[in-house]
């Protein structure tokens, strides 16, 4: 084991710097492609400033296995949570490096799984639309058939903080591709590079102004007869925002004087304790599935008078499609329908006839103000499921992501309060 720690200097250099011109060339290309002028520096992890403003993006490339010390993991975690972003480029698709990067990110961010990003993720659309790419033939020879880019990432508060490219980008940035390489062709690699750096810059500026997690604490008294919420835990990234639920409960309490319990329980659907909760909350960004036993439990909960509020965080399509599939499988005879505008959910305690939308949704809809859209599933004669295909949790935190397809902050608050009121008056 001691031997494993002994470095072989020659190999060491060839590992992190196997493509010495990669970032240089990418920056040159970025100047030509989008007229931005940035520079690159080379440093060890211990030399990197903890403040992301001084070194906004860290880039690590390699072919071999690697691991960090506990101190290095802590350093990367703090840097990323402060607004920085780290990118791992798998040199020529070398699997040991890729596996090491994924394993290390699992240790650095144990609370948030590493997840492959679906093609509607903003990182594939932040500057160019690159949800389809050109690969060198070596990628197909390695067993990957498809033309979607392959990025795995850790997302915290709707922001990618760490990203792993499964296939090599650096040879493409260097204009040095060969057919046998497990890598992106140059044009795709450069477009992906531009997108990563555009995304990172926009998100870093936003992360600076983002509200810090607010901790709401219950008064030490009985929590009986208070609105309490349970967030559903499932396999995948089930928690997208850390403070949104508490904020909306607090503003709901201020608006209506209905007593609330700020502590949010996080439970799997298999936990029988969900039957004590009047309200379940389910959200996410990407595709997910429920285990058979969990789906059965959710159906039982809803048929027994429970209420589910679900939301496609940031208006992401992966979650949207997955949630619709889950509902269709649970209640095949009761399809999800748009809730009509005259329903009480749009009028109590706030009259919400129009809502403002985020810039990205405005682009898609062609209007900055629209009617709110909620969908519902009726179970035993009452609306037991309320679903928003557009993001609200970011607005509850009063900091929608710049790439969110959702409602503006004020509309999110008003609509969220109405949904909570609807759930307690059902």
């Amino acid at each position: 084991m001691l031997l494993a720690a002994l470095p072989c200097a020659a190999q060491d250099d060839i590992d992190w710097n196997a493509t010495p011109n990669d970032v240089n060339n990418l920056l040159k290309s970025m100047k030509e492609m989008i007229d931005v002028n940035y520079s690159v520096q080379v440093a060890t992890l211990s030399e990197v400033a903890a403040d992301p403003a001084k070194n906004p993006i860290l880039y690590r490339s390699g072919h071999y296995n690697f691991s960090y010390s506990e101190g290095q993991r802590k350093r990367i975690r703090e840097y990323c949570l402060a607004g920085g972003m780290i990118i791992y480029n798998t040199g020529l698709g070398s699997a040991p490096f890729y596996r090491s990067a994924v394993r290390e990110l699992g240790l650095i961010f144990p609370e948030q799984p590493v997840q492959r990003l679906s093609s509607d993720h903003p990182i594939f659309h932040s500057y160019y639309d690159v949800d389809r790419v050109q690969y060198c033939p070596g990628v197909k020879a390695a067993g990957f058939v498809g033309n979607e880019p392959w990025f795995d990432a850790v997302e915290i508060n709707c922001r990618v903080v760490a990203l792993v490219s499964r296939w090599g980008m650096s040879v493409g940035w260097e204009d040095n591709t060969l057919p046998e390489y497990q890598a992106y062709e140059s044009e795709s690699a450069k477009k992906l590079g531009v997108n990563i750096f555009s995304y990172s810059s926009a998100m870093r500026a936003w992360a600076k102004s983002q509200a810090h997690a607010i901790k709401f604490v219950d008064k030490p008294e009985s929590s009986a007869n208070k609105v309490a919420m349970v967030q559903i835990v499932y396999d995948g990234v089930w928690k997208t925002r850390h403070a949104g639920l508490s904020v909306i409960l607090q503003t709901f309490n201020m608006k209506t004087d209905v007593p609330v319990k700020f502590a949010i329980k996080e439970l799997r659907l298999s936990d029988p304790e969900i039957f004590n909760a009047p309200l379940l909350y389910l959200t996410g960004h990407e595709h997910f599935t429920l285990k058979q036993s969990e789906a059965v439990q959710l159906k039982k909960y809803l048929e027994n008078g429970g209420f589910l509020l679900a939301e496609a965080c940031c208006g992401r399509k992966g979650f949207d499609l997955a949630f619709r599939n889950v509902m269709a499988a649970l209640f095949p005879g009761s399809p999800m329908k748009t809730i009509p505008q005259d329903n009480a959910i749009f009028h109590m305690p706030n009259n919400v006839e129009k809502v403002g939308v985020t810039p990205v949704l405005q682009q898609a809809l062609g209007t900055a103000v629209t009617r709110p859209k909620l969908e519902g599933v009726e179970v035993n004669g009452h609306v037991a499921v309320v679903y928003s295909p557009y993001g609200m949790a970011g607005g509850w935190e009063m900091s929608q992501s710049p790439y969110a397809r959702g409602y503006d902050d004020v509309s999110c608050q008003r609509l969220g309060q109405n949904i909570l009121m609807y759930s307690v008056t059902q």
Partner: protein, 103 residues
């Protein structure tokens, strides 16, 4: 006798070095794992840094000409755009470089 001892020590050292290198490989750099791809062989060196003085500034004045003040300019400071990306190098290569510098 002394020669033989030296020879044994040399062979021993060589064997130890081989074992260490083999150990590094076998102990998990991943090069023997499925899916490993070695770094590309056609590595292109990074471009030379831009010149900060022109060649004319280093030319000596003509020895037979009357002495005239030589026109010199300060070393140019090219514009330094803000750092966007930090390319991470491994800590070990820094240690190696430091050791080399000391020598």
């Amino acid at each position: 006798m002394k020669k033989e001892t030296n020879k044994t020590v040399t062979v021993g050292m060589a064997l130890l070095a081989t074992t260490l290198c083999m150990g590094t490989v076998l102990a998990g750099d991943g090069s023997n794992e499925p899916g490993f791809v070695p770094p590309p062989k056609n590595r292109q060196p990074p471009p030379a840094p831009p010149r900060s003085i022109s060649s004319a500034e280093t030319t000596d004045p003509c020895c037979c000409c009357p002495v005239t003040p030589q026109a010199r300019t300060e070393a140019k400071k090219p514009p330094q755009p803000p750092v966007l990306i930090t390319k991470l190098k491994s800590e070990t290569s820094q240690a190696t470089t430091t050791e080399k510098k000391k020598k």
